[in-house]
């Protein structure tokens, strides 16, 4: 039985007007500007850019404002917006070794060239609510060292890699696959896995990474290096034929190094997992690196027994836009489906009663 349902238009319009009024909050309170969101809720902006997969602070701030701070909804808005823009091309791969470092730490090597640079971080804070912030007021200015950081800050894993104790990163295809252009098939290459994880929901990846630490696919990780700062984006415009810088973006990179006992073809050495995210997204980059390493189980000849090592399970469920869409579609009218199931239950019960 098919029942055409009409009549919701006015209710929907009014629901959206009500939502707009609630989003605005008390009219006597000044409205949030995009500059305020981009400047003062910067880590939320970074997360929306990373998972929305578009680096544009202003757009991400607008998405957060429109979504009343609901990050997953904001990610959806940004993803929807990107479909309205043409694709001009692809950049040259970022050179993170040449990053203008704002933070760079290693939990594996104390004395690394360039030093341990804490940068802006919540690490080592006491996580006590700061009621002075509720009052407002300007903070003390940041301390300035007499000299800037060393210009050369080599990636830690590269330093140890030179001694063969850490695996080399395998070279790959220079025109990597693109999930936004082709459906994901399994087995996926590492290029597609990394793209999927970079866009993936932080909460999902964090939980998977945690599961791997608790024993569901043991990764024995060390944070070989975490670095955050600005990198130049270069591309080769067709009309020029040579690479030019088009700007700088902030990224966070995490190199996990993991114990590896060796296999028939490989000596015992440290292996690597890699995380890269837009902006200051350290937890995300760390979780991504752990999951990336776990997903290499097959390649490294390890038993894949845990969810985090199951490529199809991880990659098919990491995207918050797909996940929230499918979960939330249950809110749409299913009156006819439910009616038919109700009929079925009634008939089954009637049959059972008749038999008794």
């Amino acid at each position: 039985m098919y029942v055409a349902v009409k009549g919701g238009e006015t209710a929907i319009d009014n629901a959206h007007r009500l939502m707009a009024e609630e989003r605005r909050g008390a009219p006597a309170t000044p409205e949030l500007s995009l500059d305020q969101i981009a400047g003062q809720l910067g880590l939320a902006v970074d997360r929306v850019m990373t998972e929305g997969s578009v680096y544009d602070r202003e757009l991400a701030a607008l998405a957060l404002k429109q979504a009343q701070g609901d990050v997953v909804e904001a990610v959806f808005l940004l993803r929807a917006y990107r479909t309205t823009l043409p694709r001009f091309g692809a950049s040259e791969p970022l050179d993170t070794a040449a990053m203008a470092i704002r933070r760079r730490i290693s939990s594996a090597f104390k004395d690394l060239p360039g030093g341990q640079v804490l940068g802006p971080t919540y690490d080592y804070t006491h996580r006590l609510l700061d009621f002075a912030l509720a009052e407002g007021g300007d903070p003390a200015p940041a301390a300035l060292a007499p000299e800037p950081l060393d210009a050369a800050m080599p990636r830690v894993a590269d330093v140890l890699g030179q001694q063969g104790l850490i695996e080399d990163n395998p070279a790959g295809d220079e025109s990597p696959g693109d999930l936004t252009r082709q459906p994901l098939n399994f087995p996926a290459g590492r290029d597609l896995r990394l793209q999927n994880l970079a866009r993936g929901d932080e909460g999902f990846l964090l939980a998977l990474a945690y599961s791997s630490q608790r024993g569901y696919g043991n990764t024995h990780p060390f944070a070989g290096e975490i670095r955050m700062g600005n990198v130049a984006v270069e591309l080769v415009p067709e009309e020029l034929g040579f690479a030019i810088e088009i700007g700088e973006i902030a990224v966070t990179e995490c190199q996990m190094i993991n114990q590896f006992k060796g296999s028939k073809t490989r000596p015992p050495q440290f292996t690597r997992g890699y995380g890269l995210a837009f902006g200051r997204s350290e937890r995300k980059a760390m979780a991504m690196a752990l999951v990336d390493r776990s997903l290499r189980a097959g390649e490294l000849g390890e038993d894949a027994t845990s969810p985090v090592q199951d490529e199809e399970f991880v990659l098919a469920h990491s995207d918050s836009v797909e996940a929230s869409g499918f979960v939330q579609h249950l809110k749409l009218p299913h009156y006819v489906d439910f009616q038919s199931e109700l009929e079925l239950i009634r008939r089954l019960r009637a049959g059972k009663e008749a038999a008794e």
């Binding site: 692809a90 203008a100 004395d111 301390a143 007499p146 693109d178 590492r190 290029d191 190199q255």
Partner: protein, 147 residues
């Protein structure tokens, strides 16, 4: 284009792209007179897929996109200027494309302008690097009892 000229142009196009919009506007207003030019490709906003490398130096992968504005102009002399700048910045891209064309034409007043923009960018980078350097950890070793 000879390699040296390509290198000059690479530099100024990068400097123009990385300049703050207000700095480009200021440079524009310092031009002797508003230059005549025609739009070959009006400022157009689109996306560029940003790529990374697995492990930083391995195989390439697609990280995510960024917004970019591009523009192309032609001077009355026939010289064509291009600009590609991060973000949604039509005015920035148009002005950068015109300045790119003027620089190719050998406009002598613009060299110092590029130097000035580059110096501002270096200043910002140094300031950020000094703030970061103030957070560098100086380890010291505790004297151990058994020694």
């Amino acid at each position: 284009m000879p390699p040296a000229e390509t290198e000059f142009r690479r530099r100024w196009m990068g400097v123009l792209a990385k300049a703050a919009p207000a700095e480009i506007a200021a440079a524009w207003h310092r031009l002797a007179s508003p230059p005549a030019y025609a739009l070959l490709r009006r400022p157009e906003i689109g996306l560029v897929m940003v790529r990374g490398r697995a492990g930083g130096d391995g195989g390439a992968f697609n990280l995510g996109e960024m917004t970019v504005t591009r523009c192309s102009v032609r001077l009355p002399s026939g010289i064509v200027g291009h600009a590609w700048v991060a973000g949604r910045a039509p005015a920035h891209a148009e002005r950068a494309a015109v300045i790119d064309a003027l620089l190719q034409q050998g406009d002598a007043t613009l060299g110092p302008e590029i130097d000035r923009l580059e110096a501002l960018q270096a200043e910002r980078r140094t300031l950020a690097a000094r703030k970061a350097a103030a957070t560098r950890v100086d380890f010291f070793t505790m004297v151990r009892g058994e020694d």
